[in-house]
Symmetry: C2
Subunit: 333 residues, 2 copies
């Protein structure tokens, strides 16, 4: 199954000729509490398991896409023109290819991302989520968000979770065409929930998460237990969210992240995103927790940790981690 087949299915009866010359949208970054780790279909970014994230409110990407009279696309990120042969530009252009009605059609993308690009905050997720909504506006498709999440997924798997604020669940689905692999908003809020970014390194990753994921799926002796782990974690996480049981919530999120990293560690050759400072911070977090401060962490495919805690503990957390950047996902802005 190809991406273009999915596009045909979803946009079949949609008006593609547009009188608009541009579309704009914002999409939040998201942090997975139960991770997306492993694809059942690489072309369509179909995951082996479902996953669950929390969106980061006003932290994310604002994207304007325009039709332009030019021989190639133009890509601007944070006021900077991006060379078209870079990795990020190639991915965006390949995604735009899916929506050109003819080879002459070219786009200008202008994106402003207000999160540190290399803080392990998956800027690609909010970028593709904002872009697909901007395209929906440009072309007046008027697709609903669930269908937009399917399209966003074609650009970057976790982008499908960045279509909403709040807690979002991405259903793995079973269909070959992935039409049942979409995200949706969970009906819970948690106003006091805080996410703290502990940026240890903003250096480029030694291995992309796409590659790490695939190597883990193909070579880790533990990966076969990952789906079962996710199944349990998803259930317990949703219970913890529904009942606002923070210790349960934090411990499951932390355990899920560690299981993801443990699966990488057993890939061949081993993959370790951790830096010495990552381990120092983990021990610090565990020490503080043993002393009674309810803080937990999650970690994506990078060295940085993301702290989970409640508003009541902000001052104590700041004292322990003066360099922390705090986001309150459910704070109204």
């Amino acid at each position: 199954m190809k991406k273009s087949d999915v596009i045909k299915t979803l946009l079949n009866h949609r008006y593609v000729y547009t009188e608009n010359t541009s579309g704009s949208a914002f999409a939040p970054a998201n942090i997975a509490l139960c991770k997306y780790w492993g694809k059942r279909d690489i072309e369509l970014n179909l995951p082996v398991t479902s996953s669950l994230s929390v969106s980061l409110g006003e932290k994310g990407a604002h994207t304007t896409v325009s039709l332009i009279n030019a021989s190639e696309d133009k890509i601007r990120i944070n006021e900077e023109d991006i060379t078209l042969d870079t990795q990020i530009a190639k991915r965006l252009i390949e995604f735009l290819d899916l929506f050109r009605s003819n080879t002459e059609m070219h786009f200008a993308i202008d994106t402003k991302i207000n999160i540190p690009m290399s803080a392990g905050l998956a800027s690609s997720a909010c970028s593709f989520a904002a872009l697909i909504q901007a395209l929906d506006q440009l072309f007046s498709w008027q697709l609903d968000r669930i269908n937009l999440s399917i399209l966003a997924r074609l650009g970057s798997g976790s982008a499908c979770r960045s279509l909403w604020d709040g807690f979002v669940k991405w259903h793995a689905g079973k269909e070959e065409d992935g039409m049942d692999s979409f995200a949706e908003l969970l009906p819970y809020e948690w106003p006091h929930l805080c996410v703290g970014l502990l940026v240890i390194s903003d250096q480029p990753k030694p291995i992309s998460s796409r590659e790490a994921m695939q190597k883990t799926v193909n070579t880790s002796c533990y990966y076969k237990s990952w789906p079962e782990k996710v199944k349990t974690d998803l259930e317990v996480l949703q219970e913890a969210i529904a009942s606002r049981d923070f210790d349960l919530f934090g411990s499951v999120a932390e355990s899920n992240a560690l299981a993801m990293h443990a699966s990488m560690l057993t890939a061949n050759p081993p993959i370790l995103y951790w830096l010495p400072e990552t381990v120092a911070m983990m021990h610090q977090i565990w020490k503080k927790r043993a002393e009674g401060l309810p803080i937990y962490f999650t970690q994506d495919a990078g060295p940085n940790l993301k702290l989970l805690f409640l508003k009541t503990d902000i001052e104590q957390v700041k004292k322990t981690f003066p360099e922390i950047k705090i986001i309150m996902p459910f704070e109204k802005h």
Copy 2:
């Protein structure tokens, strides 16, 4: 099944009254290349899987055990009298209990260990292996080594591998009484093999390996894949040793150690023996290896790494790790 039942089986027809007043023996420390991680019987130290180690030549424990006229045992380690209520003394006394023919019988143990006690070198393994051989001499049991390895195992699981120099395999066995769970020497030597000790911390462990092992078995989502991993690793390791394929040897040993630590990481709560320096050294080892230096590591339940390399690379290894302590397990002494 109790330890005393095993003793009865093995020592049934042996002469226990002794004219000797003491016995002495040396046993080498050993480093597992395929780890012992998880018990199927806690009382008898019966392992879930087989394991494979290399003994460290002249690095180990020299123990003299004597019968004394006293109301309690005396324990001396490295010229220091050990208080009988310490952890190590308690374990030794409990072990000696198995061999007293009456409650009045008391022992003096004098042990000299020539490896750093807290370097993660499992000094308990060589201590119990030396002690059981010293007891064999004291009581003139004249047990063969395989049976002595069964008795040593009752003191500390991995002690059963410290009865020989060279590569040693501990068979998991299936019997309830563990009479088929013994170690034996593998018929291979590797004169150029080097083991390098990188001591990162000699602080006491936050959690004993016994406890970590049990928590992992009981709570890790990945532990169920461990036996299968070990089965493959054992086969490949033995092939690698037989054919002196060092890269295969090193990569399997490293992968096995990482899988053990990955299993701990997914215990509940997570167990992480690594310190920041552990990760720094791992990255340094991988970097050097990528540059062409054939070095691998293994790691036990502690923060320290043990480097595996060949004699030809000693100078380069010393340049990279000036603080390294090098042992050549097959060097004649």
